[in-house]
């Protein structure tokens, strides 16, 4: 180390290098990250806005034209299911990881099978999960393309995110809170609910919102589990296909008709709006709790 310091080049060159690699480098990275995102969003908006009609939200798809009411409702229904199924499993799993399994002697958290399983699961490509869902549930169990297999596959996909998000949120709750609850004589479960979980809620909600954003944007697994329908979704779990917003984007974008293109970009715009709402909400929650936490200190 000391040798390197003595061997440093002239201050001017060092500051030039600093400026080049650090300031310019970070600016470039900023540009290369934010630029394409903006470009994607602008492309979608610019293609969808000129012909946008609000009736898209109130009419169903007819073939390759019409509206997207069926797809919007289908996506919302899919998200609702994911919120319930993956939410319960993921949050429970997160609590289990953070609160119940304790830590090893060397201070590393335990987690055993669940942690291993969630980590491995999060590495399985979504198309593989879709394939398994299709062969096992849709064809194998004769459920056909329908709501339940789509819920299951999406949930399996996002449980790891929710579990990890919940675990992180819980671990960030100061130990003092837990001790306080214990000192007040609260039973473990009660203290967890009333004190620890309450302070972890923003983090948990954020991970749920991000999981929903991921689910809303999935295509490959849904093609083979939910199918596609021009009818508004019903609540039948099996044997009835469901529409969703990524389908018209994927299916109609290269269909040679204006109406199909419009529909494709309308669906893309609606997806952007949904994802933005979810992510902005998540960001606001994080920002608020951070400010809150800072002011408390």
């Amino acid at each position: 180390m000391a040798k390197e310091v003595t061997a440093l080049p002239s201050p001017r060159r060092r500051h030039l290098a600093n400026w080049l690699f650090f300031r310019v480098g970070s600016m470039l990275a900023l540009l290369l990250v934010v630029g394409p995102v903006l470009w994607v969003v602008v492309t979608v908006v610019a293609n969808a806005a000129p012909h946008w009609k609000w009736s898209v939200l109130t009419t169903t798809t007819q073939g390759t034209s019409g509206g997207l009411e069926n797809a919007v409702l289908g996506t919302l229904l899919l998200l609702l299911g994911v919120l319930v199924i993956a939410g319960v499993i993921g949050v429970a799993g997160g609590i289990y990881l953070a609160e119940l399994v304790g830590t090893k002697a060397n201070g590393k958290p335990r987690g055993g099978v669940f942690r291993a399983a969630t980590e491995v699961l999060s590495g399985v490509p979504s198309i593989v999960l879709g394939y398994v869902g299709f062969t096992a549930l849709v064809v194998g169990l004769h459920w056909q393309l329908s709501l339940l297999p789509a819920w299951i596959v999406l949930s399996v996909m996002v449980v790891p995110y929710i579990a990890r998000g919940t675990e992180t949120a819980l671990r960030q709750v100061p130990t003092v809170y837990r001790e306080g609850a214990e000192a007040l004589g609260m039973p473990l479960g009660y203290g967890l609910r009333k004190v620890v979980l309450r302070s972890a809620i923003p983090g948990v909600v954020t991970s749920l919102l991000i999981a929903l954003a991921i689910s809303a944007g999935e295509t490959a697994p849904l093609l083979y589990t939910a199918g596609w329908s021009v009818d508004n979704p019903s609540f039948s779990l099996l044997h009835k296909q469901v529409g969703y917003l990524t389908y018209p984007v994927w299916e109609f974008w290269d269909y040679p008709s204006k109406q199909a293109h419009y529909l494709s970009f309308d669906a893309a715009l609606l997806l952007v709006v949904i994802v933005l709402i979810l992510l902005v909400t998540a960001r606001l929650i994080v920002a608020r709790t951070q400010r809150h936490a800072e002011s408390r200190r």
């Binding site: 073939g63 199918g227 021009v230 290269d254 269909y255 040679p256």
Partner: protein
């Protein structure tokens, strides 16, 4: 404006289709009446369907027609809801087989293995379709002459530029551009691939037939810049975006194809003539094969030895399981199919001419109705 241009280009085909449609229906009327006396079981009446939600998926060639049919049928029978999807004939067959949809659509008939694996599945001819060979050569609107040998060489990467001498000698008087050929094929399992590769196997048995063969999905030899496109829609959009492309496209995309600045080729038939896909040429080809069509509708109509015939035509099939989970679903499926092939309803020229299809000849109508009656 663009609509008018498009319309004016399609008019000849449509006029011919109308003329032929009227003619064949007229002659059909009498032949049919005679047949009806002999066999009273077959009725052309469309059953009144119960309340039902049905789904159709498959052939992207049939997809535009389903999108015209579905609202018309639902206008008459609002109690039935029908979701259509253009996913490729492969999906049409597989989803009907697995029961994920009620009606599969396919440009290709079921294979012997399919029949063995799914004995209750049947392929019901609904209409006659045509495949065109489209290309995007900026500034060139003439209908090039192409044959199976040249197409085989293009799709095997032997001919890679439009100014190739083999193409030029076949098309004297045309100035062919120095432009790399981009061969488009379908990425999904497709009846159009089946038709196209059957034609190539027939015309070039020693090369194509032996090395690639025919199927709804084949092992495409590598060619420079080749593209796999999803659905007929993808073929048209992809070809439009790629000057120098060549693509095989179902005729139901003719209006989009011409509207997008593409055009199509004269294709060599089994009698050594180059023909355009006019209704006359299609009728000549189909007349030859209708006589040979077995009761289950399974036959290839490709490259027949027909004077003046266009060599790449086919029956469009509905793939349906004859054993339905409920009697009411079965009835609704029967109703839709009966309506679809009825010369006064789905098979009338007001629907078929929009996609340049030809109606089912009477003999086949009869056979299809018998097949539909089996759906229980």
């Amino acid at each position: 404006m663009s609509r008018r241009i498009r319309a004016s280009r399609v008019v000849p085909v449509i006029v011919l289709a109308l003329a032929l449609g009227a003619g064949s229906v007229a002659t059909a009327g009498t032949a049919w009446a005679a047949k009806k006396k002999k066999n009273d079981k077959v009725s052309t009446a469309v059953e009144k369907p119960p309340k039902a939600t049905l789904s159709e998926t498959g052939s992207t060639l049939l997809y535009p027609l389903w999108n015209i049919w579905a609202p018309a049928y639902q206008g008459k029978y609002p109690q039935v809801s029908l979701t259509t999807a253009g996913t490729g004939s492969g999906t049409g067959i597989s989803d009907a087989a697995s029961g994920t949809v009620d009606i599969g659509s396919s440009d290709a008939y079921l294979s012997p293995a399919d029949n063995q694996q799914y004995p209750t599945l049947e392929n019901i001819p609904l209409a006659i379709s045509v495949q065109v060979i489209a290309y995007n050569l900026p500034g060139l609107t003439a209908h090039l002459k192409l044959n199976g040998k040249i197409l085989s060489e293009i799709y095997r990467g032997k001919i890679t530029n439009w100014n190739n001498s083999a193409i030029a000698s076949l098309n004297p008087g045309l100035t062919l551009p120095n432009l790399p050929i981009v061969a488009l094929h379908r990425s999904d399992g497709s009846g159009d691939t089946f038709l196209f590769t059957t034609y190539l196997s027939d015309q070039d048995p020693n090369n194509w037939g032996k090395s690639v063969g025919f199927n709804t999905s084949v092992q495409w030899p590598s060619t420079p810049g080749e593209l796999a496109e999803q659905g007929n829609g993808g073929m048209v959009s992809g070809c439009k975006a790629t000057p120098g492309c060549i693509a095989y496209v179902g005729i139901s995309y003719l209006s989009q194809l011409l509207g997008d600045g593409l055009t199509y080729a004269q294709v060599l038939n089994g009698k050594g003539q180059y023909e355009l896909p006019t209704s006359k040429a299609v009728a000549a080809e189909s007349a030859y094969y209708v006589k040979k069509t077995p009761a289950n509708g399974t036959i290839s109509l490709i490259d027949g030895p027909v004077k003046g015939g266009y060599p790449i035509i086919n029956y469009e099939y509905a793939i349906v399981n004859t054993h339905q989970p409920s009697a009411s679903t079965a009835k609704a499926i029967r109703s839709i199919l009966e309506w679809a092939i009825n010369p006064k309803d789905g098979n009338s020229s007001q629907y078929l001419s929009q996609v340049s299809f030809q109606p089912l000849p009477p003999k086949l109508l009869d056979a299809s109705l018998k097949q539909i009656a089996k759906i229980k």
